[in-house]
């Protein structure tokens, strides 16, 4: 129970926005507690699997019941991304103790970050096309509704009868954070009362993304799949592609208090910017700017941050440049601890930012910071003072969550433990 005197506006006079629920599926579990437990136990969710045209590759796959919340027919008609989204949306609403029967569904918005969408269906159709001797009359009439960019968010609204806005936010691997930012902004604009916001990815079901990373020399590999992606390790050799999803229920604090909702955390700052320098290579300067502007919005100093959750994909240059950026911003932050999640679950692309936040969010209640996975010999260029390789106990109240993506998109979110 919270005080009726709680100020529901922030120092800018804007509505405070809080997280009241979370639903997820990941290579390490289908709920925030399960993911958290496996991260703290140091488990890996990476396996070897056969991918069309690629053979055996390391990949992160989710194992959840696709028809727990939808019919078999609709699952067949829809997409893997839609199935992930529907599962996560239901779990998020359950977590927030929201029954759509009791609220105005036109005041619910669905904002999902995606790295890409439609490649799975397009690859499958082209595969079929060649099996059918290039007879385009056998091309599926489901192709268009499955591949339109709003498809995963639209499947959620169809499934739940939500009549508010829905769309996806294409933001490469920064998309999970961007979904949350979009949801927060729409709540502050008064467009909706409940935002289902986060990120999802079905990329692990395509061969193209694996082949492209391989061609780029950036596809993580190892005889032991658990060691296939090792962010910050000296011998890291690239990214492991994963699927996953993480959707949060966001509400204005005022609404959350009115319905006596559980409040998991508050989003107190964010920033998004562009490198404007390269298609794939990151830019430390813009990353520094992104983190500092997020801190400024939150009215906190770098030294106030308890956890920096790095993007850290396991590529040689990407990790070094992000470490330079984090090292610069947090050079005088003795209490700040730094971790990264992709060594455990791979790179969940559009879901990464949202999922990695969910891996760290329980720090507010269990006073523990999870470590990293796969660091045998730390790269000297990644040896940040606060780097937390093994889990440790420490009270936490502020998390800075980084997510960056191709074409030079950077995002930082600052999440605060909710105290009335």
């Amino acid at each position: 129970m919270y005080s009726s005197q709680t100020n529901c506006k922030n120092s800018h006079g804007l509505d405070r926005v809080v997280i009241t629920g979370v639903g997820l599926t990941s290579p390490l579990g289908n709920s925030m507690p399960e993911l958290r437990q496996n991260l703290l136990a140091g488990k890996s969710g990476i396996v070897h699997n056969e991918i069309r045209h690629m053979g055996k590759v390391a990949v992160g796959l989710c194992r959840f019941d696709e028809t727990q919340y939808q019919t078999k027919k609709n699952r067949k008609r829809g997409t893997r991304a839609g199935a992930i989204s529907i599962f996560c949306a239901h779990e998020a609403l359950n977590s927030a103790r929201i029954s759509l029967e009791n609220i105005d569904r036109s005041r619910v918005g669905v904002y999902l970050g995606i790295t890409e969408h439609g490649n799975v269906e397009t690859e499958n159709e082209i595969h079929e096309l060649y099996q059918n001797k290039l007879d385009t009359s056998l091309w599926s009439h489901h192709h268009n509704p499955r591949t339109v960019a709003n498809s995963p968010a639209g499947e959620v609204t169809l499934n739940l009868g939500i009549t508010g806005p829905h769309y996806t936010i294409g933001a490469a691997c920064a998309a999970g954070n961007l979904g949350l930012i979009q949801g927060l902004q729409m709540l502050r604009l008064g467009e909706v009362d409940v935002a289902l916001a986060g990120g999802i990815s079905e990329s692990a079901q395509t061969f193209g993304i694996f082949a492209a990373f391989a061609s780029q020399g950036a596809l993580g590999h190892h005889d032991d799949p658990a060691m296939a992606t090792r962010p910050l390790d000296k011998s890291r050799n690239g990214i492991v592609v994963s699927e996953g999803g993480c959707i949060y229920v966001l509400e204005r604090l005022e609404n959350a208090l009115k319905r006596n909702s559980p409040i998991l955390a508050e989003i107190v700052g964010y920033h998004c910017n562009s490198d404007a320098t390269d298609f794939v290579l990151p830019n430390s300067g813009r990353q520094i700017e992104c983190m500092r502007k997020a801190l400024a919005m939150a009215h906190v100093d770098a030294s106030d941050i308890d956890i920096v959750s790095m993007h850290a994909t396991g590529t040689t240059m990407g990790d070094i440049q992000e470490c330079e950026a984090v090292g610069s911003v947090f050079s005088n932050s003795d209490k700040t601890k730094i971790n990264c999640t992709k060594g455990f679950i791979g790179h969940a692309m559009g879901a990464a930012g949202a999922l990695e936040l969910a891996g760290n969010l329980p720090s507010f209640t269990d006073d523990t910071i999870h470590g990293c996975h796969g660091i045998g010999q730390l790269d000297a260029k990644c040896a940040l003072p606060g780097l937390t390789i093994e889990s440790l106990k420490k009270p936490c109240s502020l998390i800075l969550n980084n997510s960056f993506g191709m074409l030079g998109i950077n995002s930082s979110l600052i999440i605060k433990k909710f105290v009335s």
Binding site: T71, K72, K73, K76, R77, N132, S137, L138, S140, H141, H142
Partner: protein, 82 residues
């Protein structure tokens, strides 16, 4: 192909589309749409599967002949025989 076999072939297709429905009590003379969870996209699936599995083309003007199981059998039996 005899009518019984055509009925079976059509039911097999419908079973793969109306995956959540029980087809054991389907009534041949009643509209499929009134008995099963089928919409226009599903009927396009039926048309597509007839083409893929049995090389049978159903022109758009004949879609109405797929309304009931009985009308399907009546319309498709000569086509299966070709």
């Amino acid at each position: 192909m005899q009518e019984v076999a055509v009925r079976e072939a059509v039911l097999n297709i419908i079973a793969d589309i109306a995956m959540d429905n029980d087809l054991s009590n389907i009534q041949d003379e009643l509209a499929l749409r009134d008995q099963l969870d089928l919409d226009s996209m599903d009927f396009l699936d039926i048309v597509m599967e007839l083409k893929k599995r049995h090389k049978i083309e159903v022109p758009q003007e004949d879609y109405s002949k797929l309304a009931t199981l009985a009308s399907c059998v009546e319309y498709l039996t000569p086509k299966f025989a070709q």
